[in-house]
């Protein structure tokens, strides 16, 4: 593994939780990796399996979903649906030999800026150990 490898992470953020938490990271003066791309979505339920898989296909080393806490989705089940889609994709990833750690979900609330940063940094380190995506 190259020491300078900086994993590219795509984070799909629910507008009602993850995106607000990401915004708070700046206010808390916490830092995030430069190689993080944030995609704002109206609800985690809007994130389709196709979006997640194509993010991996088009160069992401890891993909994160930031969704509201379970039973706290303003669209009722958007976060549950996102989790189910992730499970479906984990099955596909397993069959094509792609580590399922490259796709993960974090439930949080609007005021969880610290949790957002911590999750991204943890995934960043995990992906660094895992190495570049074999399909890049």
């Amino acid at each position: 593994m190259v020491e300078s490898f900086s994993p590219r992470i795509v984070a799909f953020c629910c507008d009602k939780s993850g995106y607000v938490a990401a915004d708070m990271v700046g206010k808390l003066r916490l830092s995030l990796p430069e190689s993080l791309d944030i995609v704002r979505v109206p609800c985690a339920g809007r994130i389709d399996a196709l979006h997640l898989l194509q993010a991996l296909e088009k160069g992401a080393d890891g993909v994160l979903i930031f969704a509201c806490h379970e039973e706290n989705c303003q669209s009722l089940t958007g976060n549950i649906r996102a989790k189910a889609r992730m499970g479906y994709l984990h099955g596909i990833m397993e069959r094509i030999g792609l580590e399922k750690e490259r796709l993960d979900l974090c439930n949080l609330a609007t005021n969880n800026g610290a949790k957002f940063a911590e999750t991204v940094l943890q995934k960043f380190d995990e992906l660094k150990k895992l190495g570049p995506s074999p399909v890049e």
Binding site: L50, Q54, R95, I96
Partner: protein
Amino acid sequence: MIKAEQKPVDEILDFLKPHRKILLAGCNACVAVCHAGGEKEVGILSSALKMARKKAGQKIEILEDCSTRQCEPEFVQELKEKAEEVEAVLSIACGVGVQTVARMFSDIPVYPGLNTTFMGETDELGVWIERCQACGNCVLHVTGGVCPVARCAKQLLNGPCGGSQDGECEIGNDVPCAWQQIYDRLKTIGQLHRMEEIIPVKKWGRESRDKGPRTISREDLKL
């Protein structure tokens, strides 16, 4: 509608091994409704196949398309230009669509990406259940709208077997006894006398396929 499930990706990868450029063709009819072979599923499968082949060091180019109905030759014709560019077609339509594509593009291999499973209805979101076996001579008017051919494990046409216990079939798995359902339904609609109507044995041949593929021919519709 026809229900189908995607074949495991590794099985598809296995029969695509010799090819470097394919057309992945979906169908926007039945299999799109059961989320197996529509436009979105074309995208997901294409992405998965490309990643798997890239990882294996054997890149594959995939052209994508999705017909309005792959069981209709005029819609399949629209795939012609793309089909001429590729080494093979991977169809994620039902078995009918795969065969239409294979017949129309007879000089290249056509592979099935789905397992066509049954004709059924949506039980709940993400759950489909078998309801019709296309037996060729519908008896639903006698059986209160519950099909004994598709829903009775023994396909009994005149009442339940001895394995019906408390409304459940002896095969287990929480499968309801179709004949209990028929009885309950006929009782509800005030047609219990239908239970005494004898349904004759099936004319397997006219009503099934032991005389080869069945054909419907309508003179009034022919050109």
